[in-house]
């Protein structure tokens, strides 16, 4: 059973790389089969993975009921204090969840102490300046506020508001107090509230001490998926503060008003929520590449690789929310979630458009206790091509800035700029290129590379609501395929406006949308054709030869 494989510990490759061993990639088959080994599916990297290998969806949701949470404190203490960086990375997630579980064990005590500060009105004046955040705060007593499809609230264990997607946090302090009361009421009984389902709404709680995240949604997403989005918000907050700092602050002062430190970052969190509503990257737990001829991409990657510096860990070139190239330090792997947070940071602010930015950033899945320093700049004014150089040394700005100059120089010398400009002009491909009449759209993810590909969303999904509806259908299929109690490998879904097919194997995930007129047999035939097409185009749609410094 494919589903069982997910649960096996042996499934996790210790070094974080799932690249096939030598010789294996010569056996890349014409058309993949369900039995296809990981690392040989279309889009699998030939020389090593770029990312920490992730089980994506499960990776995020597993701490709730995964093996890590079940370990006893003795076992946790027994872990070696120091690990090599490789082990560190592959264990990163389980470590993090272990720590968090550790915090949760002392909950009762914390809660009793925390309650004193609860419902205390914030003495701070509104920190969210409407001029700065570019939006007016909504009146939380109005119907318009109530009618939003998804509210997200973040609060501290003292019940103090930290973030609200809509409306000002002050106006919501009593609401958040009630939320905290619900959480602590159940926790007092050594229990945990996970969700409330009522009247078409799902209220989902995610507890990551010292924060509580709550979503109130009337979308069709599953509870798991909403929790997954809340975890992204949690990681987003960590990326600004680090886990260490966040915990330190609340250890010092339980009723600290975290908005002081997060002031000005609301737009980043707002942007992340908007992005998750229409970009399948988050659902897939994977990264989309800009379609680019392999020769051009290789030239870009090696230019990037040559413009290295001692303190550099990752060099990332991106356009929109698509990856153009990523070069990493040998043995250091980025997690797709961290890359998503970087994408979100860049797309959320126009301040990177001018000059060269230099900012501390925590990559919570890589290392939640410290800051990297990111050099962020656009390559050319009119072009959507952003270069991100991640360094370990905060005083190394000019060295890193010089790497950018050297990269641009090499790019010019190799004469690939024109080809790169051309590719940026058509950042998406049309589904018509596949040549299957009934095919409307698809998402294909290669599990070993952590990359996915998807054509442009075309008619009839023109309007924003229609696009979101299509993503909603994918979300539905995804949640059925990954349901923790009853996972499915194949799904054929017949709807009034379209038919969909989902196919999840050890090596890849495929979600396909067809016109409603086709048949199931036709859909299955089309999948084979589609997979052959992806194999044929894989060197354009994926990064097959990731580079290291």
């Amino acid at each position: 059973m494919a589903a069982d494989v997910h649960k096996k510990k042996s499934w996790e490759v210790p070094n974080g790389s799932l690249a096939p061993g030598d010789g294996q990639h010569t056996e890349r088959s014409e058309s993949p089969t369900p039995g296809l080994a990981q690392g040989t599916e279309p889009g699998a990297g030939q020389e090593g993975a770029m990312f920490v290998h992730t089980r994506s969806y499960e990776d995020l949701t597993s701490p709730e009921d995964g093996a890590a949470a079940a370990r006893s404190p003795e076992e946790r203490r027994g872990e070696p204090a120091e690990q090599s960086s490789m082990e560190q990375i592959s264990k990163d997630f389980s470590e993090l969840s272990t720590q968090l579980t550790g915090m949760a064990l002392d909950l009762d005590e914390e809660m009793r102490a925390g309650k004193e500060g609860k419902l205390e009105p914030s003495p701070q004046t509104a920190r969210r300046d409407s001029v700065l955040s570019g939006k007016e705060e909504e009146d939380v007593t109005m119907d318009a506020w109530r009618s939003h499809r998804k509210h997200v609230f973040v609060l501290s264990e003292a019940g103090k508001p930290v973030y609200s997607r809509y409306g000002s946090e002050e106006a919501l302090s009593s609401t958040m107090g009630v939320m905290m009361a619900l959480v602590s009421f159940l926790e007092a009984e050594k229990n945990a509230i996970r969700s409330i389902h009522a009247d078409g709404y799902k209220v989902v709680f995610v507890r990551r001490s010292p924060l509580v995240l709550v979503a109130v949604a009337r979308t069709r997403q599953s509870e798991q998926e909403i929790a997954h989005e809340l975890l992204y918000i949690y990681y987003q907050i960590l990326s600004l503060l680090t886990w260490t700092q966040l915990n330190h602050i609340f250890q010092q002062k339980q009723n600290y008003d975290l908005r002081r430190l997060l002031a000005g970052s609301e737009r980043i969190t707002d942007n992340l929520l908007d992005l998750m509503a229409h970009d399948p990257s988050f659902l897939m737990g994977a990264v989309r590449c800009l379609p680019l001829a392999a020769s051009v991409r290789d030239a870009v990657s090696s230019s990037l690789q040559q413009a290295k510096a001692k303190s550099l860990v990752f060099s990332i070139l991106l356009s929109g929310n698509q990856l153009v190239s990523l070069v990493r330090k040998k043995d250091q792997f980025l997690h797709p979630i961290d890359l998503h947070l970087l994408f979100n940071l860049i797309s959320s602010s126009s301040s990177f458009r001018e000059g060269e930015a230099w900012t501390p950033i925590c990559l919570p899945k890589f290392n939640s206790s410290g800051f990297f320093h990111a050099h962020i700049s656009y390559l050319e004014q009119e072009m959507d091509l952003c270069l991100l150089l991640v360094s370990t040394d905060r005083e190394d700005f000019f060295t890193v800035s010089d790497c950018k100059r050297r990269f641009q120089e090499r790019l010019r010398r190799r004469g690939v700029q024109h080809a790169l400009h051309e590719a940026l002009r058509t950042p998406f491909y049309s589904v018509a290129q596949v040549g299957i009449p009934d095919l409307r759209h698809f998402i294909y993810k290669s599990k070993s590379s952590g990359l996915f590909t998807s054509p442009e969303i075309e008619a009839p999904y023109v309007q924003e609501e229609e696009k979101e509806r299509l993503l909603g259908l994918y979300q539905y299929l995804h949640s059925r395929a990954h349901n923790s109690s009853r996972p499915l490998k194949n799904i054929y879904f017949t709807g009034p406006r379209e038919n969909l097919l989902a196919w999840v194997t050890n090596a890849f995930e495929l979600y396909v949308c067809y016109s409603p007129l086709g048949t199931k047999a036709g859909a299955i035939n089309a999948v084979n054709k589609l997979m052959k097409w992806i194999r044929k185009e894989e060197d354009r749609l994926f990064i097959l030869t990731p580079q290291t410094y």
Binding site: D129, L241, L262, S350, S351, E354, G355, W358, P360
Partner: protein, 194 residues
């Protein structure tokens, strides 16, 4: 003509218009919907001053609380600091006074301090009197101007005044700063295209 590199940093509360002042000076442009700076932003501009070329290496810092601890990295080794407040917000002037104190305690001893009261185009909602700010600036021997990045008022003048106040000795003040590494490497000659 001699080229001097002058490291300048901008400090001040969030939303007072530090980035707008820099954009106006460097690009001569203004964006009313500018986003808050994240971390710090680096830009350069070279202007002629008398018989010298002054290349301003400008560090535009973020005013938000969470970046507060990074400020010393930028004012250390600076030839000048421009502290910006918003004339329509009294509290930004209080923040400014804290910055002056911090620079006195931890900044380079000969740093030229310039105080810019930005948004002077919004005179009808003014909260900080020009005279009060001027008196304060005089008391600490700082340059004082009221500016409007929006209407391009006193922006170039601010930088000319800094050029004038920088000691005209040939030693570059930016290179004497206490082992500070955030300065241009000698090998770098030209800033790349954006």
């Amino acid at each position: 003509m001699a080229l001097r590199e002058l490291k300048v940093c901008l400090l001040g509360d969030t939303g007072v218009g530090k980035s707008s002042i820099v954009w106006r000076f460097v690009e001569d442009s203004f964006d009313p919907n500018i986003n808050p700076t994240i971390g710090a932003s680096f830009m350069t501009k070279t202007v002629q001053y008398q018989n010298e070329l002054h290349k301003f290496l400008i560090w535009d810092t973020a005013g938000q609380e969470r970046f507060r601890a990074l400020a010393p990295m930028y004012y250390r080794g600076s030839a000048a600091a421009i502290i910006v407040y918003d004339i329509t917000k009294e509290e930004t002037f209080s923040t400014l006074k804290n910055w002056v104190k911090e620079l006195r305690q931890h900044g380079p001893p000969n740093i030229v301090v310039a105080i810019a009261g930005n948004k002077c185009d919004l005179n009808d909602v003014r909260e900080v009197m020009e005279k009060d700010a001027k008196d304060y600036a005089d008391s600490i021997h700082a340059i004082f101007v009221e500016t409007s990045a929006k209407n391009a008022i006193n922006i170039n003048e601010l930088f000319i005044e800094i050029s004038r106040r920088i000691p005209s000795t040939d030693t570059n003040p930016a290179s004497s700063g206490k082992g500070f590494k955030l300065r241009r490497q000698p090998s770098v000659t030209k800033r790349s295209c954006c």
